[in-house]
């Protein structure tokens, strides 16, 4: 029982990170139809940026804020320099561009930062908390609370603000959006910036637990993509459900079977989801009224 609780806790922690990754995938997918495989690099940049800013002597909150803003700027630049110029190209080409961008960001991070593994102390100390026989790092609570807050903020943004609705409207019908005066290019830039910032938040929160290095982005992107597919690509709630589920499944596999098979779980899951229910758990079937 204590084992189960232990695995559940670590699964939810990793799952919260996957959920944030999947949310990033979802926002860019909704805005542009592109699956952005550079999403994992945003997590890496958030973690690396914070680690280097802290090493440079900045206080943690300021370092985290700088890393998030910097990563958001990278997201906007990615759209401006790589995606927007290729507008009108087939979606598959755009997806390949994002893979290229991911490789570029990884290389650039290796050059600009370094190729060492980095971490910084947890925000509320390192002493594990005991909970019914299981142990829990205080940083895990930060990760889960941070993810919950991010989802709540995004939900408010999309349901309560006119700008959020403009993003949804642009995703639904870009032609009509420009006819009501919405600058769809600006909305696209906003979506990329937002996605990058969400990825960076995940990186800032999780680095004290998982550590980070210039080349951690690819594996994160694949897991996040699996989570997004599992929940139903394009649906923020699906991102949350898919992320948590994938995290827990991985943790259970690592705990009860072997950690060697942990990664296999996400890839088997992608195959099963694509084969059996291409819409994902919460994805909606697309319908058009004629």
């Amino acid at each position: 029982m204590a084992d189960l609780l232990q695995f559940l806790m670590s699964g939810l922690t990793v799952g919260a990170v996957y959920a944030l990754l999947a949310l990033g995938f979802t926002i860019i997918f909704n805005a542009s139809g592109v699956v952005n495989f550079a999403q994992g690099e945003f997590v890496m940049l958030g973690g690396m940026g914070t680690a280097f800013a802290i090493a440079a002597g900045l206080p943690v909150p300021l370092a985290a804020l700088l890393a998030i803003l910097g990563t958001a700027a990278v997201g906007v630049a990615l759209n401006r320099l790589a995606i927007a110029p290729a507008r009108g190209a087939p979606v598959v080409s755009l997806i390949i561009i994002t893979i290229g961008a991911a490789i570029f960001l990884q290389g650039a991070a290796g050059l600009i930062f370094d190729k060492q593994i980095h971490r910084y102390p947890g925000f509320s100390g390192e002493a594990p908390l005991r909970l019914a026989g299981a142990t829990l790092l205080p940083q895990s609570l930060w990760v889960m609370a941070g993810a919950a807050l991010t989802f709540a903020a995004l939900w408010l943004f999309f349901t309560r603000t006119l700008t959020g609705k403009a993003v949804l409207a642009t995703a639904n019908n870009p032609l009509a959006a420009s006819l009501v005066g919405i600058n769809t290019k600006a909305i696209m830039a906003l979506s990329f910036g937002l996605s990058a910032a969400i990825g960076a938040v995940a990186g800032v929160l999780v680095t004290p637990i998982t550590m980070t290095a210039y080349n951690t982005g690819v594996a994160l992107a694949l897991s996040g993509f699996a989570a997004a597919m599992l929940g139903g690509l394009g649906n923020p709630l699906g991102a949350l459900a898919g992320g948590l589920l994938l995290g827990v499944l991985e943790a259970m596999t690592a705990g009860y079977v072997s950690s060697e098979y942990k990664d296999a779980v996400s890839f088997i899951l992608i195959i099963l989801v694509l084969a059996l229910m291409p819409q994902g758990l919460l994805g909606r079937k697309s319908t058009d009224r004629v």
Partner: protein, 233 residues
């Protein structure tokens, strides 16, 4: 108010508008008639900025529209209710209308919305429902109402009667007439030639990318060629 001179447009290498001249004075209802493929929708797409102009000029209240991207033309007073309705199916009726007034954040937004609900009471009943669940006629009303939320001085209406039951067609044309009374200039593109000519001041007939005929609506409706080709009389 709106002046089009020598307008040419092409899709790829195929030119579909071969030099259109057209003029609309403030307060007029002008209709553009023509068969499928005559270039009516392309003309409107050029005016609203979602289709590039290959040659010619478009001036709106004395300003050259060509350098303005689509999303900046509404602020100048030019709104379009596009072909195929193009409503935001994932948002509610009320949200669609609110986004129609995306450029504004003042008290008049609510007044305009109330006015839209007076024009189309059925939209008020369905205000919290997803727009994708509306019937075709209700979606058409929503598209027109959304365009009106943008406070246009000139409204471009693309086939508002397409696919609607006759009673709804009458209702929509009625609203167009009411808009004229409110001082909105209307460019109405229609295949329903009889209905359009009855409410319009003047009309243009497009044939394969040319203006084949133009004149006051009262004359066009008596023109033997039009009666034969478009009115089926």
């Amino acid at each position: 108010m709106l002046k089009v001179e020598g307008l040419r447009a092409r899709y790829g290498r195929i030119e579909v508008l071969h030099g259109i001249d057209l003029e609309i004075a403030s307060g007029e209802i002008v209709c553009v008639l023509g068969a499928n493929g005559a270039g009516k929708t392309t003309l409107l797409r050029c005016l609203s900025g979602v289709q590039p102009i290959a040659a010619g000029t478009v001036t709106f209240r004395g300003e050259d529209l060509r350098p303005l991207p689509a999303h900046r033309r509404l602020a100048r007073g030019l709104a379009q209710s596009p072909e195929g309705r193009q409503i935001f199916t994932n948002l509610t009726v009320e949200e669609n209308l609110r986004l129609g007034a995306w450029l504004y954040a003042d008290d008049r937004v609510q007044t305009d919305m109330d006015h839209a609900f007076t024009l189309f009471p059925v939209l008020k009943q369905k205000r919290t429902q997803a727009a994708g669940g509306l019937s075709g006629g209700q979606q058409q009303m929503l598209a027109i109402a959304r365009a009106l939320m943008g406070r246009p001085s000139c409204l471009l209406l693309d086939e508002p009667s397409m696919g609607l039951a006759p009673i709804l067609v009458d209702q929509i044309f009625d609203v167009v007439r009411q808009m004229k009374a409110l001082g909105v200039t209307v460019l109405l593109v229609e295949q329903n030639a009889f209905g359009a000519l009855r409410i319009a001041d003047r009309g243009y007939v497009l044939e394969t990318g040319h203006v084949a005929l133009s004149g006051p609506a009262a004359e066009l409706i008596e023109n033997p060629r039009i009666r034969e080709a478009y009115l089926g009389l």
